[in-house]
Symmetry: C2
Subunit: 333 residues, 2 copies
Amino acid sequence: MSLDDASQKPHDRLSAYLAGDMDQVNNLIRVRMASEHAPRIPEVTAHLVEAGGKRLRPMLTLAAARLCGYDGPFHVHLAATVEFIHTATLLHDDVVDESAQRRGRPTANLLWDNKSSVLVGDYLFSRSFQLMVETGSLRVLDILANASATIAEGEVLQLTAAQDLATSEAVYLQVVRGKTAALFSAATEVGGVIAGAPEAQVKALHTYGDTLGIAFQIVDDLLDYGASTAVIGKNVGDDFRERKLTLPVIRAVAKADAAERAFWVRTIEKGDQREGDLAEAMRLLDRHGTLASTRADALAWAEKAKAALTVLPAHDLRNMLADLADYVVARLK
Amino acid sequence: MSLDDASQKPHDRLSAYLAGDMDQVNNLIRVRMASEHAPRIPEVTAHLVEAGGKRLRPMLTLAAARLCGYDGPFHVHLAATVEFIHTATLLHDDVVDESAQRRGRPTANLLWDNKSSVLVGDYLFSRSFQLMVETGSLRVLDILANASATIAEGEVLQLTAAQDLATSEAVYLQVVRGKTAALFSAATEVGGVIAGAPEAQVKALHTYGDTLGIAFQIVDDLLDYGASTAVIGKNVGDDFRERKLTLPVIRAVAKADAAERAFWVRTIEKGDQREGDLAEAMRLLDRHGTLASTRADALAWAEKAKAALTVLPAHDLRNMLADLADYVVARLK
């Protein structure tokens, strides 16, 4: 896979392959994010929905459904559902994180207010719920209800685990599932379900989405400590400054001697951060090789994602999904 | 109906009649608000769920189902669903309104933080969604999805209409449906649907919940201007200070002369409020008789609620629901 030519990125190939479906998804999103009564709603959602997100999650749903031979109309509803849930969580996340920027633009909570972000998020979540009901599939509703609960639970868990040095790798994984993997796996699984795929394929699609999502989030957390080949709009050290316990830090804390532990207690638990602390944190991660071991984990999750695909029918889309798993971890040095 | 004896209140009679069902609802609520992973969740929800709310909405669902002869298990799920949706909206409302008190206790956003209120609200909404899916009724899901969208839309509408003197009675009604009536009508309607009641009865239950909810909210808005027989823990003038356009004010604005209009522009649109302004507002409402005309509307909505019940089978619960409609407006002078 060449990374030099942007048109060759697996995401772009998926985009080109699914362009017809994606046009329908974008139309449906535009229609359903409107509100007859409250003009503030489309203002806020347009700001976010049309800000040029990658539409990765709806693409996963479309790809899964098509790969399993679906030719009905409801993969479009489900793809829009997944994007609405994602957008709703972004709106709420920006309130929770008190963010000022998202995708290089001011956040909705900054342009309007926290109130609008909370309520428009609720509105989009309700609209996503209506879209799923239209598919008439209780199984799809069950999958997406469970994913929604995992997402919300993971976010609360992150809130309470954020400054707790006792956070385990298991808790980290639960947070990662909430932040990313639960919606990825629901996105791919419902594609298979709506297509009426055999159980083994539905299970494989779930595993692919889950492991791809975990790899994706671990890579994101690594990039926050500068493990990137290029600048990608993320500021190195944000997680450290926000005292988030991500995998490289959890592993460094586990191996810390007394002096190092005191450093983590001061900077993460107590939030007393000084000039030079980020550099010291990076030195400790390096000393214990936790960036390297975390990178190895990300690669292993991406391999699991690719392995899951072998159960699925041979198909151009299957190859693109495999390449996507490689690409997600190729962002690392 | 005697209002002197507290044990005779229709709400208390419903409570006594449905005590067995309500025990099951409370158990289910306790089980489902727990979280295996995030202990913050039951802390926050217990604070709110166990704060002694009246459980009016779940009671409406139970009453509707029993009245239509239901003897399966799922009215309990639906009653818990409705209470979870209600609790989720309260958590988000407190963030939006920056409230410090609810039901005489500090709000969750004050005790913990806005983040916890937003995310635990999302969690409860997801849990409610799981509960509905368990009933296996797509129609129930459709009703509750639509109610959720109306609730969120009404809240956003209230946000943008709040300080806009051009707010019409139609917009007010839409806000009222979002704040109160949409969940009331969904609560009663799903009770009939799960019982497999004939269409005419399901429609009547919807109308009863809708009109009862509208009466309830109009009364609430009137009480805010002191139209009460007794102190009920609400501060007179809160809506005026928060520049909310409720029905008595909308009607007074419609009848305002130039000087009166300038008063409303200054106090509501511009938010420039001074000593004595609340008294002046009350004088204008009185001058144009808008408290009286609004009270007449509330009574008419309660009559509509009672009229809807005539389609339903003769039953003790039907009588209690009729008394409840009377009771809702009996709070007025």
